[in-house]
């Protein structure tokens, strides 16, 4: 089951994610991203150390975050496991967002 918790600290918004992000859970992730967009943070941190799976439906959320929240906002993926990070890289999105292997919030 997918779970996402929103944490705001200064100009940074962190979404702590766990479970599976697929077509079933993607709408709730998208809803959370819409909430983030209203806060206009300078940095969005996607803490994925608890995320076990991501499909293209989840990657679409990352594209949305990158495109809709402005060029001034940095999007960082932290703590993704090897398979999740590889899936994101397969789409070429690693050139638009920062992917860090270890969690350091």
């Amino acid at each position: 089951m997918f779970q996402a918790d929103l944490i705001t600290s200064g100009d940074t918004v962190t979404i702590q994610m766990s479970g599976d992000l697929d077509a079933l859970s993607a709408p709730s992730f998208h809803e959370i991203l819409q909430q983030v967009a209203t806060r206009s943070p300078k940095k969005l941190c996607l803490a994925m150390h608890g995320l076990s799976y991501i499909s293209s439906a989840g990657v679409r959320g990352l594209v949305f975050a990158r495109q809709k929240m402005g060029d001034d906002m940095e999007v960082v993926v932290e703590g993704a496991n090897e398979n999740v990070a590889e899936t994101i890289r397969m789409t070429g999105l690693q050139h638009a967002i920062t992917i860090r292997e270890s969690f350091s919030a």
Partner: protein
Amino acid sequence: MPATVASLVAVAEFIGGAVAVAGLGDKDAYRLRLAVDELITNVITHGYPPASAGEIELHSSVSDGWVLFLIVDFGTEFDPTSGHRPIPVVDPDDLPVGGFGLSLARMSADRLIYERVGGLNRTIVVVRRSGRDLVAHDDRRPPWMS
């Protein structure tokens, strides 16, 4: 099973069972799930008219070191193996919000076979034990980065 996203939970459990019997490692299991998940999601999203009661069948054949899944649907004729739909290498602002799914399925599966039989779409996915990465992507650095 019903052609709805709620069925993806059962699909994941079904795949997990096959993976255990075949003795696939973590990377191969992930590739298998990604391929089957994306193909089934595509049928759910595009195969049937909205709000219709479409059905999808999922069959497996498992042996030591490999898994074969047969996905059968009764929806619109569609060959997921036809044409090349590479993920475009473009500026991130121009990335399409959709269209990744079938590309991910093709890169993840070791074999992908499609046939149209008697009004049915039959798609076969094979993943073997290899431990390979999903795909080499070093050569997909977009022009705007150079």
